[in-house]
């Protein structure tokens, strides 16, 4: 956890400084104002994040003993599973975007079910189809809203 805190603190500190000196000045539209500058609030918040990120780094650097026995939050294996599940869900979203929910919905549900170890066809098939039918009916015919 200590290393994780050091890394996350450093990433947040770098990010907040990047926001303060590069992104906020570049990403606020040009124009005139008479009250407070539109930079005021984001600068204040980014400054706050920088201060507390530094605090987190110092805390992690000081706290050698206190971190002993604390579980490592992310192992290589966990990151691999996260990446795999993230990619599968992203793939599902891309299929939904290009082929609509009638194909994208069952594909996404099936992919995640298979990833989670479900192998029973009698569970796979209805679970992949019934929620899509239910949601389509609810959204199109009850809520009258569009679907991809």
């Amino acid at each position: 956890m200590r290393i994780a805190d050091l890394i996350s603190g450093s990433v947040l500190l770098a990010g907040s400084l990047l926001f303060l000196f590069v992104i906020i000045p570049a990403q606020v539209g040009e124009g005139k104002w008479y009250g407070l500058s539109p930079f005021f609030y984001p600068n204040l918040i980014a400054g706050g994040i920088a201060v507390f990120s530094l605090w987190l780094i110092v805390q992690a650097a000081m706290g050698n003993k206190a971190y002993k026995g604390r579980e490592v939050p992310l192992s290589f294996w966990q990151i691999a599973i996260f990446l795999l599940s993230g990619l599968l869900i992203l793939g599902g979203v891309i299929v939904v975007e290009h082929f609509g929910i009638w194909i994208g919905g069952p594909v996404t549900i099936l992919a995640v079910m298979l990833l989670m170890g479900e192998r029973r066809p009698l569970v796979l098939v209805p679970t992949a189809i019934l929620p899509v039918v239910g949601i389509y009916t609810l959204v199109r015919f009850v809520l009258h809203a569009p679907l991809p």
């Binding site: 994780a4 996350s8 947040l12 992104i23 906020i24 990403q27 606020v28 539209g29 124009g31 005139k32 104002w33 009250g35 407070l36 539109p38 609030y41 984001p42 204040l44 918040i45 980014a46 706050g48 994040i49 507390f52 605090w55 987190l56 805390q59 000081m62 706290g63 003993k65 206190a66 939050p73 992310l74 599973i81 599940s85 993230g86 869900i89 992203l90 599902g92 979203v93 939904v96 975007e97 929910i101 994208g104 919905g105 996404t108 549900i109 995640v112 079910m113 989670m116 170890g117 479900e118 569970v123 679970t127 929620p131 899509v132 949601i135 609810l138 959204v139 009258h144 809203a145 991809p148």
Partner: protein, 510 residues
């Protein structure tokens, strides 16, 4: 007021509103009963489905979900020793031993009746307190309100996670995300990176569904790969007829525990960030201390279940008191309910009573109806909910992934929101793994626009002179409380991290 109440009752007691309350309570109960799911996730997923409903129907529905979720979490806690929500951890202490003694149905009934009693008591307190508090809150100026917001975020950061610093950072990240979009004063685009879709800000649902629902599924997938996705039911003892019922005498004996739990839940629920988990722990401890047979606690004491469940459910309506009075959410679920108000074009807070009193009273009446519906759904669906908790995560989680995609799409009707939701899902996964409080994050995001507006007004009013705060004693008080929170929780954590002052002193002596 009487006239508003009459109109409100006419609007609430219609087939549509009552039906939506019933559906809301049922879904909430179902989600609460499922281990790994919680009511905040359900609220985030169901919010987009309320867009086409009128504000009153939508809010009554979501309040039903919230109440149902709090009560339903006792089912899995009692039957399989897995709390549906963190706040039901305390219920497992005596609820599960009762199940192992063959008294599961009695324990479920105690849980349900206590939940409903706690809920109704706190709802009545909400109705009695919200109106006078809102009347006082109307006079609160920008300087005072800015200080209250700063205090609320600091306090929530201090109590909502293991690390105070990470909690504060999470809150600030939420506030930063809220500044994306057109600047409220000048109309200039800010941090939009050229995306026109971001001119209205980052959609609330992309953040809520991503960080609450999708990230939780990613965590569950990971957990499942290391364990399994199936919750096994204990081999239950055969239940005697007297162990299935809860007699009137038994219920009467539980009343002191229920009142104790309701009182603790109401008081703790009002305070930001403390929430249901702490209130159920405190109520349980108090009830055990007050009991003549404290040794029975932890081995199936019905009073333990009653105290924990009444406190858990009392904190749900109580947490809405600051939302109605000053527009400040103190928990994840109330932040989402406040988001629902905003999405339906209303700003919760003291002015809502002046602008739309009928709606507010309608919501209050809807809350009472939801409490009674809870009893109906809990009693009628006891057998159903006892079975549904055994459905594998391999079936539930993939379907929720699909709901996440549809829910994000419904907010704006474009795939842009879906991709944003994915990004926040991935960010939320790391936040959960690295102990960054997503409660403070979401509360920060919801409060962001109000925080910016009030802060800017405060800077202008005080002419950016800190000494001007001396003219605002309320603001001074809350800022002092925020500084004390930072000092107390921040330094405490620093000391813990460095092994404690005593350890350091001993080390120096050595």
């Amino acid at each position: 007021m009487i006239g508003d109440l009459t109109i409100a009752s006419g609007q609430v007691f219609t087939f549509t509103v009552l039906l939506y309350i019933l559906i809301g309570v049922f879904i909430g109960y179902l989600v609460g009963a499922l281990p790994g799911m919680n009511r905040a996730t359900a609220l985030a997923l169901l919010l987009p489905f309320t867009f086409s409903l009128s504000p009153l129907v939508a809010l009554c529905f979501l309040i039903g979900v919230n109440k149902g979720g709090a009560a339903g979490s006792a089912v899995s806690a009692i039957l399989i020793n897995v709390p549906g929500e963190p706040s039901s951890v305390v219920t497992t202490l005596d609820g599960y031993p009762m199940t192992r003694q063959g008294k599961s149905q009695k324990a479920l009934k105690i849980g349900l009746f206590s939940s409903v009693a706690g809920d109704i008591i706190a709802t009545l307190v909400l109705i009695l307190l919200a109106v006078p508090l809102a009347a006082v809150a109307v006079g609160i100026g920008s300087v005072d309100l800015s200080a209250i917001i700063i205090f609320a975020i600091t306090f929530i950061a201090a109590v909502s996670g293991d690390s105070f610093v990470k909690g504060i950072i999470s809150g600030l990240l939420g506030l930063m995300l809220a500044s994306v979009g057109l600047d409220s004063e000048t109309g200039l685009p800010r941090l939009t990176f050229g995306f026109i879709q971001l001119y209205d800000g980052i959609p609330l649902l992309a953040i809520a569904i991503g960080t609450l629902a999708l990230s939780e599924i990613l965590v569950q997938i990971d957990r499942g790969w290391r364990g399994n996705y199936h919750h096994k039911a204990e081999q239950l003892k055969a239940e005697k007829p007297e162990d299935k019922r809860l007699s009137l005498a038994e219920f009467r004996a539980l009343l002191p525990s229920i009142f104790r739990g309701s009182a603790v839940g109401t008081v703790i629920g009002i305070l930001p960030g403390l929430g249901a988990t702490l209130s159920s722990f405190l109520a349980y401890t108090w009830t055990r201390k007050a009991s003549k047979t404290p040794e029975k606690f932890g081995h199936g004491a019905p009073e333990g279940v009653a105290a924990a469940e009444s406190a858990d459910n009392a904190s749900v309506p109580a947490s809405l008191i600051p939302v109605f009075a000053i527009g400040l959410p103190g928990s994840l679920a109330t932040a989402l309910l406040m988001g629902a108000f905003l999405l339906h074009g209303m700003t919760p807070g003291p002015f809502l009573f002046q602008e739309d009193a009928v709606l507010v009273y309608g919501i209050f009446m809807g809350m009472i109806v939801a409490s009674l519906t809870l009893l109906l759904v809990g009693l009628a669906g006891q057998a159903f909910f006892a079975r549904i908790i055994l459905v594998r995560d391999t079936v539930i989680m993939p379907v929720i992934v699909f709901f996440c995609i549809v829910g994000a799409y419904l907010d704006g009707g474009s795939m842009f929101s879906v991709y944003l939701m994915l990004i926040f899902g991935f960010v939320g996964y790391f936040m959960k793994k690295l102990d960054f409080s997503f409660v403070t994050f979401v509360v920060g995001y919801i409060l962001g626009p109000m925080a910016e507006l009030r802060l800017r007004q405060a800077v202008i009013v005080t002419d950016a002179n800190p000494m001007a705060l001396l003219n605002h004693p309320v603001a001074l008080l809350f800022l002092l409380a925020a500084v004390i929170s930072v000092w107390r929780y921040g330094s405490m954590h620093m000391l813990k991290m460095s092994g404690g002052r005593k350890a350091r002193k001993t080390g120096r002596e050595e």
